[in-house]
């Protein structure tokens, strides 16, 4: 094994160890933090930074072109999709599904938004929301829309 390969292996191992340590700390945080939003704060560490560090380390170890590009694809895809999931979960948590502890919030920027009273399309047959002016327009737009998953994910906004 040449010196260059050894250096690459060493850098890759250091990156993997950093990612694993970050993942371990985040797991402890996920277990000990008090509510959904603070647990999401801990959860983003292994999802984005930890996985990126480990993917970089794995790419430095494997060093062949298809593997490196596939690992780049994994990192890029995680960067794109982690905010989507976090947005959905955070919005649900703020709407009150997840036992959000409002005494732990320093600032609630959505406190006076009437949109937050909208339960979303899933619940309209169970508990009809109080009538709002924009409701009929919004619902007809939803019905007439493309009906894809991406369009209905953020319905009600």
């Amino acid at each position: 094994m040449s010196t260059g390969e050894l250096v690459l292996d060493t850098i890759g191992t250091v990156a993997i160890v950093l990612g694993v340590l970050l993942t371990f700390v985040a797991s402890i945080g996920l277990l000990s933090l008090p509510d959904v939003l603070s647990r999401m704060h801990a959860a983003t560490k292994p999802q984005v930074v930890g996985l990126l560090l480990i993917v970089i380390g794995g790419a430095l170890h494997l060093r062949t072109s298809p593997d490196v590009w596939m690992l780049v694809l994994v990192g890029a895809f995680q960067l794109v999709t982690a905010p989507v999931t976090a947005h959905v979960v955070g919005r649900l948590a703020h709407r009150g599904e997840g036992g959000l502890r409002r005494d732990l919030l320093y600032v609630d920027e959505l406190a006076d938004r009437p949109d937050e009273a909208d339960p979303g399309p899933d619940d309209q047959e169970e508990s009809p929301p109080p009538h709002r002016n924009g409701e009929a327009v919004g619902r007809s737009r939803r019905r007439g829309g493309a009906g894809s998953d991406g369009a209905s994910l953020d319905s009600g906004e």
Partner: protein, 94 residues
Amino acid sequence: MSTLPALLDAVLVVSLVLLGLSAVLVVVRLLRGPTGLDRLVALDVLVAEFLCGLVAYAALTGDSSLVPVVVAISLVGFLGSTTVARFVRRGTGR
């Protein structure tokens, strides 16, 4: 200088064990809940840690046949978590 690759392998094995330990912690959160969103976040982290473990194992063995598996699991994990978030209903919290 010849002991360095063995040392790197040992370090990788130790980090795999540490990944397993953190996965156990996440599973504890997954089982305790208390709400569906907590379980959803824990499941996301579990998938991410599984991906980390696969990449670290591929780096340890130098075997690159696991890399397409990593791509596939990252795609499926995103679809699963957004779909579950879709079905967490207001008020029930499950």
